[in-house]
Amino acid sequence: MNNLFQYVPGKSVIHRMNPITKLLITIVICVAAFLSDRLLFLAGLLAVDLLIGVIGGVANRTWQIFRGLLKIAIFLFLLQVLLTRKGTPVFWIITDQGLLTAGKVVLRLVVVCMPLALMLAVTRISDLTNALVQVLHVPYQYAFTLSTAIRFIPQFMEEMSGIMEAQTARGVAFDKARGLKKFSMILPLCAPLLISSVRRTDQTAAAAEVRGFRLRTRQSGYKRYPFTGVDFGAFVFCGALLAAAIIL
């Protein structure tokens, strides 16, 4: 869990792609998932997600993310199936339409979430923010906010597990509790966590400031992000995917 959002170094085609291209692929997959209403097409998109993970050389991570999403997906699926009243009953209170809608909702969720998490695995955050600033002319302040937020995820996790460890050691039974019980035990600990996070954010801002945060211009990034053949190939793929989503 701790490293679910962390960058995995590599030299795959996906790694070498322009960060903007990767962002585009992510967005296109999301858009396609909402444009199409066909179960088969959604399943196809899922295959595309998994394929990206494999080509990117992060098959393990892809599987991890998939497994994580599956838990939420199953929960949502059951909820949807049990709540849908339309259609003909298949057995008990479950209807054929319920199954179909639930399948689509869940598939859409997985299809949309996977590329976002995968992108973080194959793209350095600094490359993403620098490319956003250089290529798309996004103001640096916004790009910085994004990168800091992502940088905070592992820090937050680390702090949380540190707090839980300390509480366990003094007798709070985190090591015995499961599910909702555990969640209700974590809740009161969130106050100190938030206090320290806010304090920390302010200090991070100060630290960035004394290292020339305001001096940064669009051209400051050390690396440049030109589009290459791989990127144009990806553009064609994105176009095809969108077209398919509209037609199918």
Binding site: N2, N3, Q6, Y7, P9, R124, I125, S126, S147, T148, I150, R151, P154, Q155, E158, R199, R200, T201, Q203, T204, A205, A206, A207, A208, E209, V210, R211, G212, F213, R214, L215, R216, S220, G221, Y222
Partner: protein, 279 residues
Amino acid sequence: MICFKDLSFTYKGEKAPALSEINLTVEDGGFLGIIGPAGAGKTTLARAITGMIPHHYTGDFYGSVAVNGLDTVDTSIDEISRMVGMVFQDVESQIISPLVEDEILYGLENFGVPREEIPQRMAEALQKVGIADLQERSIASLSGGQRQKVAIASIIALKPQVLVLDEPTGELDPRSSRQIFSLLKELNEEQGITVILIEQKIMLLCEFAKQLAVVSGGKIIRQGNTRDVLAHADELQALGVNCPRVTTLSRMLSEKTGAAQPVCINLEEAEKMVRRLIG
């Protein structure tokens, strides 16, 4: 040169002043150690040098601080940061990037260091701090001590004229701490960088700093050459500031022999003193 003139500062929303009537001058090429109990105002002092006070942390500001003759109130943080580099006490909040390499790059990019110079600067900074092997690693995979070294390297890479460090070795073991102190000494002596170092590790501080300032309750209680300050060991101890044990030994021997012994700051000096005394 850094010059404090009658500086008093109270953080917005606080009643008691964090600093009161600070007068302090650090010459170019100086190596000043700042010591004092917790909550004495040491960090506030560092913030005043970098211009974070009054620009980032607001409050009642009286008197003046000048860095290279520029009044920090009239100078932007950007301009000051080109001269002054600062390593923060809380490493976690100082590190901005998820990767070591990016963390070192960050300041270099912002200050517009020429592209062809960057690889060299980065390699040099990492190597000096002794973490060349960590360049490609993610910050999350590093220990507290390693993170602290990354933070130091990211500032050293900027080659500031003045280096302010707020307890930069808290997470480091004695050997690594000594390494960092030696590096600071090297930067100070060979490149003439002014070093201002806040530190609780009194033994190392006394050995390396040329000058000492003792801060307590927002005031500078004593300042001067390290040895001169240490000569007032009793006064320091009353404030809750420890002295190196060799210094305590020279004070005890002065009392017992009834003759003033030199103020020792390291083992070599203590050995010499004892050998002279026992003939």
